[in-house]
Each structure stands twice: as structure tokens, then as C-alpha cells.
């Protein structure tokens, strides 16, 4: 036998050709996956058994969900529920990739806005229209889970994305009643600062939490309730007067934030507030639980800055219906997943969740026993606007617009910050 069956060059050629062929095969491109089973209701009558994956981002709710799971498995002994929890930012980025195969997230949750829309485009929501559990919810609060005339998901949490207050501290300094106009608000902030109190703790270094303040700041300045959606669509600009006014108001707030607010993380801002050093925490009602864990013993309130003159405000505050519950259309356990959602929709169970996590829910007839939820309850009937920042479907655009406010607090002129943001909007639309 010859000892030169292949030369080295020949072997390399063969490897190259094989690689090329594989590369061409790879160019077959995306797609080719089995189509999702679709959004029909078929499959909900499957057996309530097996190991169910419940995908969500609320690590802080894990213990409460464990209690809820325990009551569910008592009712349905053939089912176990596993919580697949990701950090919220990661969940926002990767949930669709994880759940679309159906292996994870038989039942899952989604953020309102871009994530909900993308999951709908991918056909991963099962259509819940006509299912009895939908009747358990306040109809006006579950519109964020509807699309294409179908009820695809059920927003579960009701949060108020507006500053949390320390009413005791405010009352101590003579501000038991907060003003309903911009100049009055600035007066309160000035008074607090002169008495050695940090008026507003704002996590400007944390895009997720720091961005919440923009909801209140634009709610009465914007020319339309869907102004941010229009910015993304190109029919409004952030260089328009209404947004420049908003940025100038951020500039006015600058002296009233804690030192170095643009570099502050959420934990640090919460610490300032929880220790009674700051009167407002500019994030949202969802901070109540974490603030209690940090040792806050004072009562909590809510207040959205009114950015216009007295009597001109259209809205008093901000709410958001999120943590949208759904059943994975690609799951083989849709019967069990629906049973899990039905369990969560039971007012008694929803009450356990709400009171255990200090968050209101969209389920009707829930009795709130948690002191913070009772304190926030008046806001359930006030004139509040669905949080504008979640109107953005493009994360780059949202980041650019919110960052304009952070830049202004950092010293950039409002006009410059707005122009830079608008340039990104124009590029990314």
C-alpha cells in the first residue's frame, strides 16, 4: 500500500470543501422550525398533570409563589410547578428565545409593550378569549394583554410607576398636603432641602428604575396620551416644545436630587429613602416591598409631580398593568398551564400574592390587608395614565429618550440632549 494516499494539501482541500458545503447548507437560513401550534383554544382540555414550568422575572416573589404553588398542588396533586426565574433585564432580552420552543415556560409572563408584541408576533401566546378565567379580571386593566381582537395574556400586577413618598417626613416639615402644580412642587422641594432633607432619591444610574420618573414628567406635558408611541412612529419629535419643557423641568429638579444622582444605583437610592433621609423615591409602588426589607417603618404614600400650572393637569398619576400571564402555545401541558392561571386568578389566591408582595393585582374582588397596599388603594380610582415609557417598542429609542433626561441632570443643555436623542430616534425608527 502506498504511504501517500493523501497529501497534506489534499487533506486540507477536502476539509475546505466539506467546510464550504456545510457553510452553504447553513445558508439555508432561518425558519424551517415547526410552526407554533397556534393561538387556538384547543389543547386546554389536556390533563392537569406533569411538571409545569412557570417562567417569570420576579425573584423577590419566589417565596410567595411557593405558597401559591403549594395551594395549587394540593388541589391538583398530579402537578408540580417549577419556577424558572431570570433577572428582569435578562428576561426582557431572552425570554422569547427560551419559551418559544415550549421546553421552558409552559405558563409564562411578559412585560407590557415590546415583549408582549414580539411574543404575539412569534405566535407563542395561546388565545384565552372565552376562557372563564378572563372574567375574574377588571376589563379595563387587561387591555395590555389583548391583541388582534384576542385576549392573549392577562396582566396580573397593577403598579403605580410614580414616586413613593414618606408622608411622616413630609408632614414633619409642614407638607402634609402636596401641591398640584409645578411651582408649588418646586417650593416643597426647596423647603425640604433648606431643612437638610434630600428631597428626591433618584436612581439615575439605573436605566430601568431611573427611567420611571419620565412617566410622571410627561403625563401632563405631552400633547397626546400616546405621545411616545408617536415619537417612535415619527409624528412627534423629542425636539418639540413639550419634550424640551420636560427636559427643562428635569434641569430644575437637578438641585433636589441626591448628590451624584446620575451615578446612583437603585439599591443606594432605596437605602436613602428607607433610612428616612429622602422624602421621595422616584421609582414606583413596586419599591414598597424592597423598602420594607431595608427596614423602613414609616407609612408610604404616592405622588406624581404635576408639571403644569394649577388646574391644568389632565392626570394625577401613573399606573401600569404588567406581568402578563399566558399559556405557551407550544407547550405540551396546556391543560395544566391553564389550570395554574385559573388558580392565580382566584381572588383569594390573588390576595395571597398581592398582600405577600405589596403589589396590587388586576383580579376583581381581592381583599388587600397589606398596610402599603391599603395606603396606595385610593390611587386605584384616581385619574391615572397608563405608563407612557412602555409605549416604546424599540429599546434603543426608549433608552435614548430617557437618557436625554439623565444627561440634562448631568449638565447637558436640554436642547443638545433632545437633539442627540432625536437623532437616534430617526436612525432607529
Amino acid at each position: 500500500m502506498s504511504n501517500h494516499v493523501f497529501s497534506r494539501r489534499g487533506l486540507l482541500k477536502a476539509a475546505g470543501l466539506t467546510g464550504g458545503a456545510v457553510a452553504l447548507a447553513a445558508c439555508a437560513g432561518p425558519g424551517g422550525e415547526a410552526a407554533p401550534r397556534g393561538s387556538g383554544a384547543a389543547g386546554f382540555d389536556g390533563p392537569v398533570e406533569g411538571e409545569l414550568s412557570f417562567a417569570h422575572w420576579r425573584a423577590e416573589d419566589k417565596e410567595v409563589f411557593d405558597q401559591v404553588i403549594a395551594s395549587f398542588t394540593r388541589k391538583h396533586p398530579k402537578v408540580t410547578v417549577r419556577q424558572d426565574i431570570s433577572a428582569s433585564a435578562d428576561y426582557q432580552s431572552t425570554a422569547l428565545t427560551k419559551i418559544r420552543g415550549g421546553g421552558v415556560g409552559d405558563a409564562f409572563t411578559a412585560f407590557r409593550g415590546a415583549q408582549f408584541a414580539n411574543i404575539a408576533s412569534a405566535g407563542v401566546w395561546s388565545d384565552l378569549t372565552g376562557q372563564s378565567l378572563v372574567d375574574a379580571y377588571e376589563p379595563a386593566l387587561i387591555t395590555a394583554g389583548a391583541g388582534g381582537g384576542k385576549q392573549l395574556g392577562l396582566p396580573y400586577q397593577l403598579v403605580f410607576n410614580m414616586p413613593v413618598t414618606n408622608p411622616d417626613l413630609l408632614a414633619t416639615h409642614g407638607y402634609a398636603n402636596l401641591p398640584q402644580d409645578w411651582d408649588g412642587f418646586l417650593g416643597v422641594l426647596d423647603g425640604l432641602r433648606s431643612k437638610g432633607v434630600t428631597p428626591i432619591a433618584w436612581p439615575g444610574g439605573d436605566s430601568g428604575n431611573g427611567g420611571q420618573l419620565i412617566n410622571s414628567m410627561v403625563m401632563n406635558n405631552a400633547p397626546a396620551d400616546d405621545a411616545f408611541a408617536r415619537v417612535e412612529a415619527g409624528t412627534l419629535k423629542v425636539t418639540d416644545d413639550w419634550f424640551l419643557t420636560t427636559l427643562r423641568q428635569y434641569e430644575q429638579l437637578k438641585p433636589y436630587f441626591q448628590d451624584g444622582a446620575t451615578g446612583s444605583a437603585n439599591e443606594a437610592a432605596m437605602q436613602l429613602f428607607a433610612t428616612g433621609k429622602a422624602a421621595f423615591l422616584a421609582t414606583g409602588s413596586y419599591a414598597a416591598g424592597p423598602v420594607r426589607k431595608l427596614g423602613a417603618r414609616f407609612p408610604l404614600g404616592l405622588y406624581a409631580p404635576i408639571t403644569v400650572a394649577a388646574g391644568q393637569a389632565r392626570y394625577e398619576g401613573i399606573f401600569n398593568a404588567t406581568f402578563i400571564l399566558g399559556v405557551n402555545a407550544n407547550s405540551s401541558k396546556r391543560g395544566a398551564a391553564l389550570a395554574w392561571l385559573q388558580h392565580l386568578s382566584d381572588p383569594a389566591v390573588a390576595g395571597v400574592y398581592a398582600n405577600g408582595t405589596s403589589q396590587h393585582v388586576t383580579v376583581k374582588g381581592v381583599e388587600y390587608t397589606n398596610a402599603d397596599l391599603k395606603a396606595f388603594a385610593p390611587w386605584l380610582t384616581r385619574k391615572t395614565l397608563l405608563a407612557p415609557r412602555f409605549q416604546f417598542n424599540n429599546l434603543d429609542i426608549r433608552t435614548a429618550v430617557e437618557e436625554a433626561a439623565v444627561k440634562v441632570v448631568g449638565g447637558t443643555k436640554p436642547e443638545e440632549a433632545a437633539e442627540a436623542a432625536q437623532r437616534v430616534v430617526d436612525q432607529k425608527r
Binding site: V22, L24, A122, G208, D396
Partner: protein
Amino acid sequence: MRRTWGLYLFPIPALALYLAFFVLPAAQGLQYATTDWDGFSPGFNRVGADNLVRIATDDDQFANALGNNLTFLLAVVSGQTVLALGLAVLLAARSRGSTALRALFFLPTVLSSISVAFVWRFVYDPNLGLLHSLGVPGTFLGDEDTAILWVAVAQVWFHAGQMMVIFIAGINQIPAELHEAAHVDGAGRWQRFRFVTWPMLAPATALVVAYTTIQSFKAFDLILGLAGNPPRSSLDILSTRIYTTFANSQLGYAAAESVVFMVAIGVVTWLQGRAARIGAGR
């Protein structure tokens, strides 16, 4: 040695793995870069080089991330190399004290990036942080102009100990006779370092610089841990930009950004190779 057909079967498993896990994904990545695929829809449009043209001409966020990454790269490569070299020179001698200090400086390397990020988030907090309590003024990560440099400091702290070990290995390989000869010729400490240690450490330095460069491009988890997701523009680097684009359901565009990212690493590595050869007089 007698060769047989059978010998040629041995590379096949390795080649198959290489093709399946490198060639195929890379080829798919290149293909995705020419599409507008969102990452989940069954269909997509072929856009040719449009994505690359947009990146080059009409994407401020990508240009900003590239600029940040180059600043970060320069700061980390220079800071980490100098610090690691200094520590190695001081701790190369074998003694109990130096062994303990080596372990101490190496310790951060064994931590996870996310742990390091959380530690440094508190170090940098302008109200409650360590630097604040030491009287260092500033907003650190909140400062538009210098934020990326503060991240570079954390990165250098994180990996300098690891690079120190490479330099110590290099120093220990230098024949003692060279130092003795230089000493006999009247060379002082600095001259022995300048004319003996430093030239003999060229291979170790090349390794440290190359490794640090790659680390600098991949400082993804440290940035997200420090700055949140998505990071603000002053802290956005190429890897975080690609991740944000991917999260924004623009997989085709993210793939195109990845192609540019790969080219950027290639160019920087080539420039470093050229600089090293010029420095060595070749």
C-alpha cells in the same frame, strides 16, 4: 513511518465538531448579517450589505460603542499591563510574604464578573460608596466623560493578578547569569530592568497584551452588572451594543454588528502584532 488510510480518520471527530460548532454558526452569522430577520419570524428579507452600510454611516449608538470600546481597551491594556508588571517585579522573589501577596492580588480573578460588578457598584456610589467615604469627589459611573474609565479601573483590579502570574513565570525564566553579568558591568536596578528583564519579558508581554485586548472586548458581564441592561451610552461597548440589538429583536442587524466586531478585534490584534514586530526591530 508507514501511513495507512486509517490514520486519516483520526481528525474527523475534531473536524466534525469544528464544523458543527464553529464553521456552521459563523457561516449562519454571516448569512444573517445580510438579512432583516427579527430572530423569531419564519420569514425575512435579504438586504445585502445594507446593514453594514447603516452601521458605517448612520448609527450613532454603534459608533459611540466602538469609541467607548477603544477607550476602554487602551485604558485596560496600558493600566493592567503596567500594574501586573510592577506587581510581578516586586513579588517575583520567593518568600512567604511574596507568596501571600501574590495570592491576595490573584484573588479577584477567581470571583465571578457579576460579583465584582456589584462590589464596584457600591464602591462607586456617589453617596454611600467607598470612594465617597474616602473623600473622592465625583459621580463616577454617572459622569458622561469618564464613566468608561471607572469601569476600566474595575476591570484592571479584576484581572491584574492573573496577568501578574504570567509575568512572574516570565521573570523566573530569565537566567540569573544575565542579571549577574549586568550587575558586574555596573548596571543599577533600573538599568537591569530596562536592559535585561524588560526585553526578556517580550513573549510574556505579548501574551498579556493579546489576552487583555480580548478581555477588553468581552467585558460584557462586568458592564451589564455595573450599568444595568441596557447600559447608558457612556458605558455601552461593542458586546453590550450587539446584545441590546439582539434583545431589540433585530437579529440580522445584530449579526452585522458582530461581523464588524470580529473585524475590529482582527484589526486591533494585527496592529498589536505589527507594533510588537517594529518594537523588536523586525
